[in-house]
């Protein structure tokens, strides 16, 4: 597809192309059929693909369970959970069903489902519509956790996830839906589908991040460049599996590591990266590893309060400056 599109359009295009190319694909969720999705991700698809883009009742648990059954019977269902916070109402089916069925059945069944769900603060949706919960799913054996940050990845990672034989929790950025533009271009998978992407080459510090925080980190990197600090920004793309090879290669060059995520820092996935790096890359590190993440609070509604908890470029900049002094 030529020309620039928005992130939300890339998601829609990926769904349309999968619906076209694979008759096993069905899309299920709330307000996705008649309305076209609260973030327009399915707009026009119900008309184009009759009977394959389906509004469900407000019943996330049964919807995910239904998709699991449909997957066991040979379909490739994509479920939209309207806001990531709502995924809590479907946790049992995701954690005890989708994630464990292959294992519990001795490989007799696969559960190729994708659960698409938007997260992020920054849109004024308040405490129950904004939380980043990807760490929970990265912790569960059997799940893949995707978190695209660009238009091209929104498209290609979604297409890949729908064809993945494992259940994928696909965390979209609602902050970027209508802000991020770009070209879909050619496939973004490097030498393997779960490879991280070096979003910016640099020599001083490795900033590893994902989702919306990639853009914040890149912006911080530009300001810091003027100060002579040359950041390398690694976009993980997948929280699980995370690409240790690319991370190791980067840290071996920069000798400094910062992890940035919008999720709460305590027990967040950044802790996992730090622990792995401290253990495996210890002799490459010239400075302590740092984390930039949200404090232990829900995402507040009011913009000025929200800015107080969501990491931004200035928080990233000061962490990098601090680290670069070592």
């Amino acid at each position: 597809m030529a020309g620039e599109v928005k992130y939300a359009e890339a998601i829609r295009q990926a769904l349309a192309d999968e619906l076209s190319s694979d008759p096993r694909v069905v899309v299920m969720g709330q307000e996705i059929e008649a309305l076209g999705g609260v973030f327009t991700a399915t707009q026009g698809l119900a008309e184009r693909f009759e009977g394959r883009v389906l509004d469900t009742p407000l019943a996330e648990s049964a919807t995910v369970g239904w998709a699991i059954g449909a997957a066991m019977a040979g379909l490739r269902p994509v479920v939209e959970i309207m806001f990531m916070d709502f995924i809590t109402t479907a946790m049992d089916q995701i954690v005890n069903g989708a994630a464990k069925l292959r294992y519990m059945s001795g490989g007799q069944v696969a559960v190729p489902i994708v659960i698409r769900t938007p997260s992020d603060a920054g849109t004024g949706h308040g405490p129950q519509h904004s939380q980043h919960l990807e760490t929970w799913f990265a912790h569960v054996p059997g799940l893949v956790v995707a978190m695209p940050s660009t238009v091209a990845d929104a498209y290609w990672m979604l297409r890949h996830s729908i064809q993945d034989d494992n259940p994928v929790v696909f965390v979209e950025s609602k902050y970027l839906y209508f802000r991020e533009s770009g070209e879909i271009g050619a496939s973004t998978a490097a030498d393997h589908p779960y490879a991280a992407r070096i979003a910016r080459r640099g020599r001083s510090v490795t900033v590893v991040t994902a989702g919306r925080m990639v853009a914040e980190s890149l912006a911080a990197a530009e300001s810091l460049a003027a100060e002579g600090v040359d950041c390398e920004v690694v976009d993980l793309r997948f929280i699980w599996p995370y690409d240790r090879e690319t991370l190791a290669e980067s840290v071996e060059r920069t000798n400094r590591l910062i992890v940035v995520h919008e999720a709460v820092g305590d027990f967040g996935w950044g802790g996992e990266i730090c622990s792995w790096a401290a253990s495996e890359l210890f002799y490459s590190l010239d400075a302590p590893i740092r984390r930039v993440a949200a404090p232990r609070a829900p995402i507040p509604f009011a913009s000025h309060l929200e800015s107080a908890v969501v990491p931004d470029r200035s928080a990233i900049e000061s962490a990098v400056r601090d680290l670069a002094r070592h």
């Binding site: 069905v26 389906l54 469900t56 009742p57 019943a59 648990s61 049964a62 919807t63 995910v64 369970g65 239904w66 998709a67 699991i68 059954g69 449909a70 997957a71 066991m72 019977a73 040979g74 379909l75 269902p77 049992d92 089916q93 005890n96 069903g97 069925l101 292959r102 294992y103 519990m104 059945s105 001795g106 490989g107 007799q108 069944v109 696969a110 054996p141 059997g142 893949v144 993945d164 034989d165 494992n166 393997h192 779960y194 599996p241 995370y242 690409d243 240790r244 090879e245």
Partner: protein
């Protein structure tokens, strides 16, 4: 379709009873460890409902599902091997007693999360219809499961989407120690609740396998023809404790299970109604006991899976190969 004969229904019940009794012995003799939930006393529900299904039809089950697995055609050797954690088992010991699966015979699986398997059955039946397969699904739940939100959600979705599903609710009077009378009221109340979803919902006493089978056949035929869901509450009794080491004397009169069997045993009732003479019944029971004993011997010959397999089969083979190469 070959209708299951009355004698076959009886034999299925005997097979289930024999398996559950033998598994108990394996446990007491120390050859099986871990959790075990006996379906003794509930055989008419498993045999009666499953007995009107075709081989391609689908079944999901509960944590108390050995009987459903047997009735759907899963091999007793595979079941017992899984219970013993040995390799000929359905997952070589990864799942165990509450996670039997046999996709080849349409047994989508047990599920130890109460009522968690209902949407699987609904979705699988719905998807199969879309793929052009003329099949139905049965999802077994208990009265405990009837209190779970996901059952209500699934019945709501079944009404919205239409799916050839029969929910077979085995009301065994007890959600572990909570009496269903306290949660729902008298037997039949769960069916009355389900009727509120706009589907046919019936109650049947589960000590008469022929009555269960008659009603289930009629309902399955309707479900198959209409593609719409239905619900049947089958009143049974949990003869054994919730699980093997459950101190049920703390919440039940002593020997209640045993005295229930004296008056309501579905197997004895079937012998009376078929009818079978004592000698005929003894011959059948002996033959089936021999089959189960052979199956257990075969299972006991199984090998323990190598420990390295414990961390495999979590993801697809291709994914795990990539992970091994790249150090995930």
């Amino acid at each position: 379709m070959t209708p299951t004969s009355r004698l076959e229904l009886y034999e299925t019940m005997v097979r289930i009873r024999e398996l559950e009794t033998s598994v108990e012995s394996l446990h007491y003799s120390g050859r099986m460890h871990g959790s075990f939930h006996s379906s003794m006393g509930q055989e008419a529900a498993a045999a009666g409902v499953t007995g009107c299904l075709r081989p391609a039809d689908l079944v999901t089950s509960t944590h108390r599902g050995h009987g459903h697995a047997i009735a759907k055609g899963m091999s007793p050797t595979t079941i017992v091997a899984e219970l013993l954690g040995l390799q000929p088992g359905s997952s070589g010991g990864k799942g165990g007693s509450m996670h039997l699966h046999d996709i080849a015979c349409g047994f989508l699986g047990e599920n130890a999360i109460v009522a968690g398997g209902v949407p699987w059955a609904a979705g699988a039946a719905w998807a199969s219809r879309r793929l052009g397969k003329d099949l139905v699904a049965v999802s077994f739940v208990g009265d405990g499961g009837a209190a779970q939100g996901v059952l209500a959600e699934t019945l709501r979705m079944a009404r919205t989407f239409g799916t050839p599903l029969l929910v077979a609710c085995e009301n065994n009077h007890l959600a572990h120690s909570m009496p269903s009378e306290r949660t729902f009221g008298e037997p039949g109340s769960i069916a009355a609740w389900a009727a509120g979803f706009g589907m046919r919902a019936e109650y049947v006493a589960g000590d008469d396998v022929f009555a269960v089978h008659r009603l289930a056949t009629e309902m399955i035929d309707e479900v198959r023809a209409s593609g719409r869901a239905a619900f049947v509450e089958i009143e049974v009794w949990r003869v054994r404790a919730h699980s093997l080491n459950d101190p049920d004397y703390r919440y039940l009169p002593k020997d209640l299970g045993k005295s229930y069997l004296q008056t309501h045993d579905p197997i004895a009732n079937a012998e009376r109604d078929l009818p079978l003479t004592d000698a005929e019944a003894a011959t059948i029971r002996e033959r089936i006991a021999g089959e189960i004993a052979e199956a257990i011997d075969a299972a006991l010959e199984g090998q323990a899976a190598p420990a390295r397999l414990a961390t495999t089969g979590v993801y697809s083979e291709a994914f795990e190969q990539e992970g091994r190469r790249r150090g995930w």
